[in-house]
Amino acid sequence: EDQVTQSPEALRLQEGESSSLNCSYTVSGLRGLFWYRQDPGKGPEFLFTLYSAGEEKEKERLKATLTKKESFLHITAPKPEDSATYLCAAGSQGAQKLVFGQGTRLTINP
């Protein structure tokens, strides 16, 4: 059964304190690994797609990386506006749906 697990569940950082969020996946034939950001009361907002091990994508203070079993979302020198829940999801070969992790709730204190 396809499965996605995110850790930690919650992370509190000081402004400027870099860290990483983890997404471990078990899917049959990864087709795409997706990262989303979700703010309270809003729907998830797409950030990145990664397709193959070794691939990296960057956007402002965020960088997503992918291995054969995990993806990491690195946050460099975060700001309070980076506070949100970050979700990852995996799509498998031939599947008509994504499998989502439960998310990491990130809080950046000023």
């Binding site: 087709r31 795409g32 997706f34 009361g41 729907g43 797409f46 799509g91 749906k97 994504l98 992790g101």
Partner: protein
């Protein structure tokens, strides 16, 4: 923002009543999805559509039905609402199946409370 509108944004209903949630898109995407989001469970797929009048079940489809009579509209119906269906419901769209080749874009959700 992707052109996705969900209505209503909030609804309170009583156990046993029928409820219909609407998702409207202006992107002309072929694929549309209904998810529910609950603490401890994350996002779970209820039903999805791969074209007008073409729908299929997701992992938590019991108690729900859907209809898609036009490309832009995807309706989710709870035939007889139960308290276990209290949740936040999200509609999503994508250009390709499962969002594997192109990402899902989500609406802002409907918060449904069944009393």
């Amino acid at each position: 923002d992707a052109g996705i509108t969900q209505s209503p944004r909030h609804k309170v209903t009583e156990t046993g009543t029928p409820v219909t949630l609407r998702c409207h898109q202006t992107e002309n995407h072929r694929y549309m999805y209904w998810y529910r989001q609950d603490p401890g469970h994350g996002l779970r797929l209820i039903h999805y559509s791969y074209g007008v009048k073409d729908t299929d079940k997701g992992e938590v489809s019991d108690g729900y039905s859907v209809s898609r009579s036009k490309t832009e509209d995807f309706l989710l119906t709870l035939e007889s609402a139960t308290s276990s269906q209290t949740s936040v419901y999200f509609c999503a769209i994508s250009e390709s199946a499962g969002g594997a080749d192109s990402p899902l874009h989500f609406g802002n959700g409907t918060r449904l409370t069944v009393t």
